[in-house]
């Protein structure tokens, strides 16, 4: 820990990275995109841009729910199971029309979020354990529902509206689902910085004791966060199913760790109190482009995993170094 005052230029540069991680991350993203483009020229076509946006969208939405939880110093390990469950329910109930099907899917999110929120907020169960347990419960419920003549068995038909949202094109390289993403993103960015709830979320993550003394009822904030998180997870699951045109009981499982990674890369601290959704958006885009690069390079799955891990670790390390905040 050097307390010596660094050269002012360096200090400014560091300060910029600390205060505006988005700037640095955008740089990383553009660089990565260009590098990928050199190997896959298709990336520079509208279609290349479009498929990047398309694939980043559900990841970014799952990462949004992770971001919210992490800002309060928690984590949500049940996001992907919630996403799977919700998407499956929507496809399973699509016969009843889009309103009922989507409503039921969001109800899944609401229920999961309420239970998580009550566990974490009211009963003060460690979020890791609470959401881990919840993931286990959901896995069991979904599988039980699927096997034999369970409540989820029977035909699954993707809602046409999800196909339209996921595969339609708004204009140029912009797919329809970016609209949903933009709405969610705008809502989150505005919500986190310009609403009372947003302020409370940061405050609870930064110092729960101070929050309590300032009269903030922490359980309410946590309940809201976990409900929002689960609703976002449901939405992510729905968009996911729209892109692939399929649902499966484990379709988003591979996105659990990337969703955390996107938030970490985006500068959200797992200890709470700092970060935001702008960074997460960039984190999700970076991971998507990185994925594409690794796919193009014909690297093995093995190499991809290793690089993935190293990059997440390196970025987290850089943040801790820059901001001088160390783990407890």
């Amino acid at each position: 820990m050097s307390t010596a005052v660094a050269d002012p230029a360096i200090r400014d540069w560091r300060q910029l990275l600390v205060d505006r991680p988005a700037v640095a991350l955008t740089g990383v993203l553009l660089l990565l995109y260009v590098i990928t483009g050199l190997f896959a020229p298709g990336m520079f076509t509208p279609n290349g841009v479009r498929s990047t946006l398309l694939l980043a969208c559900p990841l970014a939405i799952l990462a949004a729910s992770q971001t919210l939880c992490m800002l309060t110093g928690g984590i949500d390990l049940s996001t992907v199971m919630t996403a799977n469950f919700a998407a499956y329910v929507a496809a399973n109930q699509s016969g009843q029309g889009p309103v009922v099907a989507l409503g039921l899917a969001l109800c899944v999110g609401l229920a999961v979020g309420l239970v998580n929120g009550i566990g974490v907020g009211v009963f003060k169960v460690n979020p890791l354990i609470m959401t881990l347990g919840m993931a286990s419960v959901l896995l069991g419920v979904v599988t039980v529902g699927l096997v034999g003549d369970g409540f989820l068995s029977g035909s699954t038909r993707l809602l046409p509206v999800l196909r339209t949202v996921a595969s339609g094109t708004l204009f140029g390289p912009v797919p329809n689902n970016v609209v949903v993403w933009a709405l969610v993103g705008a809502g989150l960015i505005f919500g986190l910085s310009r609403t009372g709830l947003g302020r409370a979320i940061y405050a609870v993550g930064d110092n729960p004791i101070a929050c309590r003394l300032a009269g903030v009822r922490i359980w309410q904030v946590l309940l809201a966060v976990y409900v929002l998180s689960a609703l976002l997870a449901s939405l992510g699951g729905l968009l996911f199913s729209g892109i692939s045109g399929s649902v499966g009981p484990d379709q988003t499982n591979a996105y659990l760790l990337p969703s955390v990674a996107a938030a970490v890369i985006g500068g959200t601290s797992i200890l709470g109190g700092v970060g935001g959704y702008t960074g997460t958006i960039l984190g999700a885009l970076i991971l998507t482009v990185l994925n594409r690069l690794l796919l193009t390079l014909d690297t093995t799955e093995a190499f991809r995993q290793i690089l993935y891990g190293l990059i997440v670790l390196a970025l987290a390390w850089v943040y801790v170094r820059l901001t001088g905040q160390r783990g407890s």
Partner: protein, 330 residues
């Protein structure tokens, strides 16, 4: 597996000819997968239709060989007379299967083979699956073009076998350029990869290892015209073919479970049965086999429902029994 058709050495005397109260165990390590669930339903349906079974105990939960070994042990402990197992590994289950046969339990590996000689094996011919689809595609493309080759999971026997059949055909068609990717037999992941590949590359045909309908969807997602896609007999894919997507379905019947059950019951009743039963896939062309496709289209079943619902002469259940998915006494 050997080409000579010995009978399996274990379990043949187990049933001692009596009928009626057999308990059949099922072990599956991919829970909630439509194809696998249908496989289990076909076991139940066949058990019911046979009238010789009192109970089917199905363990369908996610896991690998480690878990499956335990599942098999549990089925042995529960007193099963025959076990239908979709093995998660060719070798690793051998010791526990040996244990089962020592305890006079008939073990039938379905869908994928095990190397244990005391077990019976009923599989779809995966080499033929790879070859037939590839032949269809090569012919469709006139022997040249770019093909997106979407495999399953690297190293899994079924994938290697299919690759063998596929590569045989490709060796004969040197003008076809292939780009190989692995889908992990995951519809979502396969769809993702298809979006990326089709979005930025140019392909004249796609061969899939059964991850088919999400690939067809990907054409719409990236806004390109579909090219011929070789898929499996997934219900949704059949619909897409009927709706005019170019392509062909190569059957990979999930009711192989029912086939295995029929074999197990034969053994239990003292009949002599070949150790290996190999089912040869059929190819259903979108244009030429419309009638077959329509006969095997089940619009109100699941997207991944395997449309080949019976395998004669093994299965004897009705479609209703299969759809009901109820074993004896349920």
């Amino acid at each position: 597996g050997g080409g000579d058709d010995d009978t399996a050495s274990g379990g043949s005397g187990a049933g001692s000819g009596q009928s009626g109260n057999f308990v059949i165990g099922v072990s599956n390590t991919l829970a909630g997968n439509g194809w696998r669930e249908q496989m289990i339903c076909s076991v139940k349906a066949q058990a019911l239709a046979s009238g010789k079974v009192s109970k089917v105990i199905a363990i369908s939960k996610n896991g690998g060989p480690t878990e499956q070994i335990q599942d098999l042990q549990n089925l042995i402990s529960q007193g099963a007379n025959a076990i239908i197992v979709n093995p998660s590994d060719r070798e690793k289950l051998n010791p526990v299967i040996q244990q089962a046969t020592q305890k006079k339990i008939v073990v039938v590996a379905v869908d994928q083979a095990v190397s244990e000689p005391t077990a019976y094996v009923a599989t779809n011919d995966q080499v033929a699956y790879g070859r037939l689809g590839a032949e269809w595609l090569a012919e469709k493309l006139g022997g040249k073009g770019n093909v997106l080759y979407m495999r399953g999971i690297d190293g899994v026997p079924a994938d290697s076998d299919r690759d063998k059949g596929f590569q045989e055909v490709m060796a004969a068609n040197p003008d076809i350029k292939i780009k190989e990717v692995f889908t992990g037999w995951d519809f979502t992941k396969g769809g993702d990869i298809a979006v990326q590949e089709l979005g930025s590359g140019n392909y004249d045909g796609v061969w899939t290892s059964g991850i088919d309908y999400t690939v067809v969807n990907a054409f719409k997602t990236v806004g390109k015209d579909p090219v011929p896609v070789v898929g499996a007999d997934n219900n949704q894919f059949i619909q897409q073919l009927l709706d005019g997507s170019p392509g062909a379905a190569v059957t990979n019947p999930a009711v192989i479970g029912g086939v295995g059950t029929a074999i197990a019951l034969d053994v239990l009743q003292g009949k002599t049965v070949k150790r290996e039963t190999l089912l040869t896939p059929e190819v259903w062309d979108a244009e030429q086999d419309k009638a077959t496709l329509e006969a095997n289209s089940f619009p109100d079943r699941d997207a991944t429902f395997s449309s080949a619902v019976s395998v004669k002469p093994f299965t004897t259940y009705s479609n209703e029994q299969l759809f009901a998915c109820k074993g004896p006494g349920e």
